[in-house]
């Protein structure tokens, strides 16, 4: 009995000391980790909006480039990032919206960039995904993402939506799916269509 009480006491003290240490460390590093996460998000938005920035830019520089070039607007219920390039830079005005949803193994998050009329896709990026490497994980690879550029978010009849499918034939709103990653592709298609629905509703 005495032994058990001592063990309990020991466990309590050790547990408290360990958790206090970890809490202190977590609150000390929190601002740094938040800044990193923000810079990472900004880097993805800048990338999908095709804003040029130095590849070795620090977190602070990235945040500044982002604030100088990109403005945040509200589109219906969506947050929309707009990049208006300088007059003679040759870049096109681009908007981007975030999308997210469940993937096969975990959450998938990314940004979809459209031209200023919000009809044609200019790019797509995934900044968080844990899909199977080599199969579903290929959604983050450039060959899959590059297919989206130039695609419409409306089908031929004008109905909003994008199709990720391995079927034959082509359509203005269809991209090729990844073989062996049917589930991931279906889920990505669903979350993109959710975002597209939001865009169309927001425009009205």
């Amino acid at each position: 009995m005495k032994n058990s009480i001592y063990t309990l006491f020991y466990a309590g003290v050790l547990g408290t000391v360990c958790s206090l240490l970890l809490t202190a460390a977590a609150s000390f590093t929190a601002p740094y980790r938040e800044a990193n996460a923000k810079a990472e998000k900004n880097r993805n938005i800048l990338g999908v909006l095709q804003v040029k920035y130095p590849s070795d830019a620090s977190s602070q520089e990235l945040v500044k480039i982002f604030e100088d070039n990109v403005s945040l607007e509200q589109l219906g219920e969506l947050e929309m990032y707009r990049y208006v390039p300088p007059q003679d830079s040759g870049n096109k005005e681009t908007v981007a919206v975030g999308f997210e949803g469940p993937g096969l193994w975990g959450p998938v998050k990314g940004f979809l960039a459209l031209d200023k009329n919000m009809r044609t896709i200019r790019g797509i990026t995934f900044y968080e995904q844990e899909e199977t490497p080599g199969l579903g994980g290929e959604i983050a690879s450039s060959w899959f993402r590059e297919q989206f550029a130039g695609k419409s978010i409306f089908d031929e009849a004008g109905k909003p939506g994008i199709i990720i499918s391995s079927s034959e034939g082509s359509a203005p709103n269809k991209v090729d799916a990844i073989s062996g990653a049917t589930m991931t592709c279906e889920k990505v298609q669903a979350m993109l269509n959710e975002a597209i629905k939001g865009i169309v509703e927001g425009k009205q």
Binding site: Y10, L14, C18, R33
Partner: protein, 222 residues
Amino acid sequence: MADNKQPACMTCEPKGLCGGRGLLTLKEGAWANNPLAIQVLGICSALAVTNRLENSLVMGGALIFVCVGSNLLVSLLRKVTPYRFRMIAEVSIIATFVILFDQFLSAFYPDMSKQLGPYVGLIITNCIVMGRAEAFALQNPPILSIVDGIANGLGYAVVLAIIGFFRELLGAGEILGREIPGFSSWYTPNQLMILAPGAFFALGIVIGIFNAVKGPGPEEKK
């Protein structure tokens, strides 16, 4: 983690660190009983993070930090820890050090943290750390336990660095992400070395060479 025999010097006249046992402990951990090459522990992380030399070095550093920290604390607490509670205590201490390192990495080296992914957190389950705490730190004084932590961490880190060096050299034709003059220009990188099979080949060859150089262990000699 069967090997728990006391160094032979236990009965000698005390000299040097901890009566001469410091150097023995160091040799034992880093060379004669190298955790990776001889005991073949901690293989999971050794295969996963050695595709680049930089990753290997950081991972090795993490293991040294955790091993030294946990050995020290376990050793300091060894007389007050209830025997049947010792493993839970060891794991809590190890987990604390691992999370500390993980937080530090994600705050100040986010890119490295992203590359190593879950493997930093998985040091908690690394048999080397738990094994040293259980087999060594629990029976030995703090200073000696620190030496043992350094020795085993170093033994792991050096083997990891060797594997990382060759995998990056052959798989990417670079070292630490930089091109090597006179080599990168004509060498065609062999992707296999970056992928998982390359890790198995490299680890197998390193273990083979290590054992050949070290010679047979005491039980094989009999």
